[in-house]
Symmetry: C2
Subunit: 192 residues, 2 copies
């Protein structure tokens, strides 16, 4: 296993020595996730966090009407889990599956806690990851409350052009909390 990509990602934020790199590598588990395969299911406990090396994954929940609501996408260099379940040990609210054939490096909670003890800088890395995730979610709440759907769609395309190319309009609509029909009418309007 040569998870150079994940170490590059980590080293954008912290410096790690050669022995620390080897320790980190030794705790990561490579997993191939074919398209449509489920990595975490609602109701199970999330015991791992996944670094996406290839492909695209999504996290969603199914509401009472049976509709899927996408909470996040993840592609190269993103980390994904149900953080509520991972933190608390309670059952996951989200299901995570692959939208394309994907490759992830998985780190168990036990090994993550072990890394925090053995590589103190890893705590800094994770603090930065969590801080960025908090900012992202809070920005999303502010946008949902303040921006019309059309503008949120445009912002999504600007902020995540790499997702827009690889996921369906239906999936984008689900993420934005609007119907696919409404998104389609927005797109027609902006092309007119």
């Amino acid at each position: 296993m040569q998870p150079a990509q994940i170490l590059d990602n980590i080293q954008k934020h912290i410096s790690v020595s050669q022995p620390e790199k080897e320790l980190i590598e030794s705790l990561l588990v490579l997993q191939r996730v074919p398209k449509k395969e489920v990595l975490l299911e609602t109701g199970k406990v999330a015991t791992e966090i996944h670094f996406v090396s290839e492909g695209v994954l999504r996290a969603y929940f199914t509401d009472r009407e049976g509709d899927q609501n996408i909470v996040m996408f993840a592609m190269n260099d993103w980390w994904i889990t149900d953080m509520y379940s991972f933190s608390t040990g309670n059952p996951a609210q989200l299901t995570i599956d692959a939208l394309e054939d994907s490759v992830v490096y998985s780190l168990s909670k036990t090994n993550l806690e072990f890394l925090f003890l053995k590589v103190p800088a890893f705590e800094r890395f994770f603090r930065i990851l969590m801080q960025n995730a908090y900012v992202r979610e809070q920005s999303r709440i502010i946008q949902n409350l303040s921006m019309p759907a059309e503008e949120r769609y445009r912002q999504f395309l600007t902020k995540y052009p790499q997702f827009a190319e690889r996921i369906t309009q239906k999936q984008i609509a689900s993420y934005l909390g609007i119907t696919p029909e409404f998104l389609s009418s927005l797109r027609k309007k902006s092309n007119a």
Copy 2:
């Protein structure tokens, strides 16, 4: 200054030595924030994070219609800032003000970074804070997408009974993203 409360809060998550405690205390600045006083204004850069010792604060943004949307409340033992602005140095999207006469301990970004270097466990403390904040915001997104307003109101009362006693119905409505009139009709219904 005797910020025992803040050290108790920190020591729920990490252990700190006596010299570390003294260092932390020396970097905190006590601020009295009278009711309605603004601690951070939209458009300014958030250079401090505030630990609420007494009182209640809120963070809100004003949308294009001029309506105030409350993004968070904070009372004893909560930390509050505009994390987007604090992290990036960009202008704040939020305004933070006091809903009651309040007392906060403020920590500047420079001093926080200094603490991360001098007290490595403080990085852990902050990682946990940010992880909890991320989980809270994500849960809110899931609830907004999946629960009717009535249920979100009930959940809010259950989860934050201490806020419900000290803030107005109008403020709760703003946090839930509904009109005060609609909240009033929900309350009448549930009392009926």
